[in-house]
C-alpha cells in the first residue's frame, strides 16, 4: 500500500477537524474490512488515515422504545449481544450473514453503512427499520433517515467533513422478522437479500409489514406495493405468495457478469416468500 500519515483520534471533534482540513485526501478507518482491501490493492491512496477506533462510539442504549447504536458497534456484537437479541433481533440475524467470521470480528455498523455496498445486509435492514442516522460535521450534528442517506452505489449523503456517529432504530420486540439471502459461495455478497418484518394485531391480522431488498439496484429499496398487499390482511400462504409476486414484479434489477435481471427477480420472489413465512411465524409466537 502507498505511504500515508496515520492519526488515532481521541474525540469526534478531532476526527471531524481532520476530515474538514484534508477532505478527499483523508479516509476514516473503523473496522477496516472494506478500506484495507482497497489499500492493499492501491485502489485507495489516501494521504491521511483517521483511525476512529478509540472513540466512545460503541454503545448500545435503549430508551423510550428506541435503540441507539454507536457507529463502532461490531458485527459480532450485533450477532451476540443479549440486548440486540431482545430489542431488535433482525439485526442479529442480518449481522450473522455478513461476510465471514473474521469480517464480523472487526467490521462495524457505521463502516458498512458508510461504505454502502448495494448488496450489503445492514443498509437493507436500516431501510426496513426506517433508521435515523446521526452525522457529525464541523457545523454540528444532523439526523437523516436511511432512505435519504443512501444515494447510489457506494455513495451516501455523508459530506467529506462528516462522520457517521450513531444509528437510531425502533425497538421491535413484538415484530416477527426474517432475513433471507442467496450467494454463490458462503461469505460472498448476496446476489439478492431480503428483510421481512411483520407485526400482527390481536386478531392475527397484519398490522405492520415491511420488505426491504439488497442486490437489486444501486441502493437498498423498500417495496410498498408488496407491503400494502399484506396490511390489514390475514397472513395466509396465498396472501404471502401474492406479496412475493408483487415484489418480484415491482423490482427492476440489472444483469451482471454472473446473473441475469430475470434470475434476480425470480430469486427475489422466492426469498420473499420464505422470509415472509418465517417472519409471520415469529410474529405469531410474539403476539
Amino acid at each position: 500500500m502507498v505511504p500515508f500519515e496515520y492519526v488515532a483520534v481521541g474525540t469526534v471533534e478531532e476526527a471531524v477537524g481532520l476530515l474538514a482540513e484534508h477532505r478527499e485526501e483523508a479516509k476514516v478507518l473503523a473496522g477496516g474490512q472494506s478500506l484495507v482491501p482497497l489499500l492493499n490493492y492501491r485502489l485507495a491512496r489516501p494521504q491521511l488515515i483517521v483511525d476512529i477506533n478509540r472513540l466512545p462510539l460503541d454503545g448500545i442504549q435503549v430508551t423510550d422504545g428506541r435503540l441507539r447504536l454507536g457507529a463502532l458497534t461490531r458485527h459480532a456484537t450485533l450477532e451476540e449481544s443479549p440486548e440486540i437479541a431482545r430489542h431488535c433481533p433482525v439485526l442479529a440475524e442480518a449481522a450473522g450473514l455478513i461476510g465471514n467470521v473474521r469480517v464480523r470480528t472487526l467490521g462495524t455498523l457505521g463502516g458498512s453503512l458508510a461504505h454502502a455496498d448495494p448488496a450489503a445486509e445492514l443498509p437493507m435492514v436500516m431501510m426496513a427499520l426506517d433508521a435515523s442516522l446521526t452525522l457529525v460535521g464541523p457545523q454540528g450534528r444532523r439526523m437523516l433517515p436511511a432512505r435519504e442517506f443512501f444515494r447510489g452505489q457506494l455513495t451516501t449523503a455523508l459530506g467529506q467533513d462528516e462522520l457517521l456517529a450513531e444509528v437510531e432504530l425502533p425497538v421491535t420486540r413484538r415484530i416477527g422478522h426474517a432475513v433471507e439471502e442467496f450467494a454463490r459461495r458462503e461469505g460472498d455478497f448476496a446476489i439478492v437479500a431480503v428483510t421481512a418484518l411483520v407485526g400482527l394485531d390481536r386478531r392475527g391480522r397484519v398490522e405492520d409489514a415491511r420488505l426491504a431488498f439488497a442486490g437489486v439496484g444501486p441502493v437498498p429499496v423498500r417495496v410498498p406495493a408488496a407491503e400494502d398487499l399484506l396490511r390489514g390482511q390475514e397472513p395466509a400462504a396465498e396472501r404471502l405468495a401474492a406479496a412475493a409476486k408483487a415484489a418480484r414484479d415491482t423490482l427492476d434489477p440489472e444483469s451482471d457478469a454472473f446473473v441475469s435481471a430475470a434470475y434476480r427477480r425470480h430469486l427475489a420472489g422466492v426469498l420473499t416468500k420464505r422470509a415472509l413465512g418465517r417472519a409471520v411465524a415469529r410474529a405469531g409466537e410474539a403476539a
Binding site: D51, N53, V101
Partner: protein
C-alpha cells in the same frame, strides 16, 4: 511509530510503519511464517490469526491498530509439541498442501472454545470463510469434529 503488543504470550515493543498490515509485520519483520498470504482481501482465511481471542484476517489489519492487543498465531497454540487439534489433523489426514491449515486450525480452535458442544453442521458453518484449494474439506471436518468430541469427553 512505536507500538506494544503481546505476541504468542510474549510482550513486544516494535517500531513500525503505519502503512503495514499485521500479516506483513508477522511474516516480513518478525519471521513468523505460519500465517499465509492468500488473497489479500480477507476472503480466503489463510492469514487468520486470533486478535484478543477472536479470528481476524491479518492481511486486513493495519499495524498501528493492534497497539496494546494480544495476538496469537498458530505456533502460539503449540506448547512444546503439537496441540491436540493439530494431532487430530495428522490422524485424519486433514493436511494436504498445508497452505490453509494454520488459518483453519485457529478458526476451529477459537470457535470450539466458545462452542464446545458444536456438531458437524455448526463446525462446517464456522469454517465457511476458510478456503481449502485442495478441497480436502471432508477430512478437515472429520478432524475438527473428532477433536471436539475428545475435548468435551476429556
Amino acid at each position: 511509530m512505536r507500538i506494544a503488543l503481546t505476541l504468542n504470550g510474549r510482550t513486544r515493543e516494535l517500531e513500525v510503519p503505519p502503512n503495514q498490515t499485521l500479516l506483513q509485520l508477522l511474516r516480513d519483520t518478525l519471521g513468523l511464517f505460519d500465517p499465509k498470504e492468500g488473497c489479500g482481501e480477507g476472503v480466503c482465511g489463510a492469514c487468520t490469526i486470533l486478535l484478543d481471542g477472536r479470528p481476524v484476517s491479518s492481511c486486513l489489519v493495519l499495524v498501528p491498530t493492534v497497539h496494546g492487543r494480544a495476538i496469537l498465531t498458530l505456533r502460539g497454540l503449540e506448547a512444546g509439541g503439537l496441540h491436540p487439534l493439530q494431532e487430530a489433523f495428522v490422524r485424519h489426514g486433514a493436511v494436504q498442501c498445508g497452505f490453509c491449515t494454520p488459518g483453519i486450525l485457529l478458526t476451529a480452535y477459537a470457535f470450539l472454545e466458545g462452542h464446545p458442544e458444536a456438531d458437524r453442521k455448526a463446525i462446517r458453518r464456522a469454517l465457511g470463510g476458510n478456503l481449502c484449494r485442495c478441497t480436502g474439506y471432508a477430512k478437515i471436518l472429520d478432524a475438527v469434529e473428532a477433536y471436539a468430541r475428545e475435548a468435551t469427553r476429556g
